[in-house]
């Protein structure tokens, strides 16, 4: 079947893609700048068509625990929120990671800390990629940079989540959530009729009972479990790194940016090249796993790297680790809900590496 062309906001694209991907349940609580997701779902009323459950919870905490309950039944379930709400969900996310449950969490990031602002930011990178809640765990983190990817990554997220029994986060931001672009939507997929064998669906006589828990009071068994998680994360690091390169072939200076900042930096690369500066862009699509190997390779070819983020400098730490001291690495970014302009990036590139 052909893909359907629509003009949509990033938030709306997530909602529509969820219905089309055969998601079983959405549980959320409104917060700017992503409330269009639950509004769209309530208006579309997929209960009548696909049978998808859409529920407005009493809090982000309740919503993420509903995701826990639904995911433990082997269902495709998701929640969405924005930074302060994602902080509230961290307890539940930790339990989901500890119980090895697949699910999708979308963070349409706004500026912080605290209530911060409702404008776009990328200041939740640490929280998303380094765990976020308590305990040793990782989410798989995808960073969409267009409305198209907001739609496409819904299905990709569930594929990865079920493949690895691991929660997946789409780390977006207010700009992509609120922006309208063309989007080609995949045809409707039916909801899954079967569930994985570990799911709690009522114990038939043919199997042992299934227990979904993240608790083990025996330190030896708990450590074994931690090792199992580590092995899983290593496998994810090995197999699931995704990134995009833009004019890197002859680049002397490499910009590293994801999401909205990567869109800005594409323009910066053009502007820099117009001024005779050979810039290139590496856009991580997966933030965990991070494209460490590729950045290390490129560090052998360029004179320096600039990590461009709408934050005080978070991803830059992963770039530094990847580069291992081969070339200088700097950070440039605006904060507080201000989106970096392409010109500012070029100015920063010049002042840090070229002088003037």
């Amino acid at each position: 079947m052909e893909k359907e062309l629509r003009l949509m906001k990033g938030n709306e694209a997530v909602a529509e893609a969820a219905i089309r991907a055969g998601v079983d349940g959405y549980f959320g609580y409104p917060i700017t700048p992503q409330s269009e997701i639950i509004e769209y779902l309530m208006d579309a009323n997929p209960a009548e068509t696909t049978g998808m459950v859409v529920l407005q919870a009493e809090s982000e905490i309740a919503a993420i625990n509903m995701v826990y309950g639904g995911a433990a039944c082997g269902k495709k379930v998701m929640t969405t929120s924005s930074s302060p709400g994602i902080s509230l969900k961290q307890e539940g996310i930790s339990y989901i990671a500890g119980a090895e449950l697949p699910c999708l969490i979308v963070n349409v990031v706004r500026g912080g800390p605290g209530l911060g602002t409702i404008q776009p930011a990328q200041s939740d990178y640490f929280q998303a990629t380094k765990g976020g809640g308590h305990g040793d765990y990782h989410l798989i983190v995808l960073a969409p940079a267009s409305v198209q990817e907001m739609a496409d990554f819904v299905e990709l997220s569930f594929d990865l989540a079920f493949k690895y029994r691991n929660p997946v986060m789409m780390l977006s931001d207010g700009a992509i959530g609120q922006m309208m672009e063309k989007v080609y939507l995949s045809p409707h997929k039916e909801r899954a009729k079967t569930v994985p064998e570990w799911a709690t669906t009522g114990k038939p006589t043919t199997r042992q009972r299934n227990i979904i828990t993240s608790l083990d009071l025996d330190p030896n068994r708990q450590e074994l479990f931690n090792r199992k998680l580590l092995a899983k994360y290593d496998e994810i690091r090995e197999k699931e790194v995704r990134f995009e390169e833009f004019q890197c072939e002859d680049a002397e200076y490499l910009l590293v940016a994801y999401g909205t900042s990567a869109r800005v930096c594409q323009k910066s690369v053009q502007l820099a090249r117009e001024q005779g500066i050979k810039a290139g862009l590496l856009r991580p699509i997966t933030l965990f796993p991070f494209p460490t190997k590729r950045i290390n390779e490129l560090a052998g070819k360029v004179k320096g790297m600039l990590s461009v983020e709408m934050s005080a400098g978070q991803m830059v730490e992963d770039v530094l680790l990847s580069v291992s001291g081969k070339v200088p690495v700097y950070h440039f970014g605006r904060m507080g809900g201000i989106v970096t302009t392409p010109e500012e990036v070029v100015e920063s590139l010049k002042s840090k590496f070229i002088g003037g």
């Binding site: 700048p33 609120q178 922006m179 309208m180 672009e181 063309k182 594409q266 392409p342």
Partner: protein, 184 residues
């Protein structure tokens, strides 16, 4: 072809929806488009603006600071965005409520008194479509038939009875827009 536009005015003037019509029309004309609103409390009064990019190529940054065209609908927005227009670019403004008129000499300036015209036509809601008509006269980047189709797409079906009125408004905008200054 790439046209980078900012539309700015009061919330409630139809700034965002004018941008939406442009974006839908661009899609119908098989162009790449992006529509990036300022969002938040501005939506309920105060100032609102939206950046619309229409291009024959893939759009890189949807957020930019320099524009080919600025469509300005109140004084605050004129003060804020006059300096953001590229040299040789276009400023279209409605003179209603403007006390300090544009001062730059290196841009093309057009005036479309749409507020006045809309009240003359007894239909304040078509204000933004009159402005859009004026824009299309100056920058005929989208065919009128595609704009009508764009209108249909961006309006909920229950408002489709308003389309003939809007078509009239688009044409009226084309008629009343006048050149104030050619870039020097």
């Amino acid at each position: 072809m790439t046209e980078e536009i900012i539309i700015a005015g009061f919330g409630g003037q139809g700034v965002l929806s004018m941008g939406k019509i442009m974006a839908y029309s661009g899609v119908i004309q098989d162009m790449e488009v992006s529509w990036m609103p300022s969002y938040g409390p501005e939506m309920r009064g105060g100032t609102a603006n939206v950046i619309v990019i229409i291009s024959s190529d893939r759009i890189s940054s949807p957020i930019i600071k320099r524009f080919d065209t600025a469509i300005i609908l109140n004084q605050q927005s004129l003060d804020k965005f006059e300096s953001s227009i590229k040299s040789g670019g276009v400023l279209i403004y409605d003179g209603n409520g403007i006390t300090r008129h544009p001062e730059r000499k290196d841009i093309n300036i057009y005036r479309v008194d749409a507020a006045e015209e809309a009240s003359r036509m007894n239909s304040p809601k078509i204000f933004n479509t009159i402005v859009l008509g004026g824009f299309l006269k100056v920058k005929p980047i989208i065919k009128l038939e595609n704009v009508i189709k764009g209108l249909k797409k961006s309006l909920p079906e229950r408002y489709h009875n308003l389309i003939p009125m809007n078509e009239k408004a688009l044409k009226r905008g084309e008629e009343i827009i006048k050149e104030v200054q050619k870039a020097g």
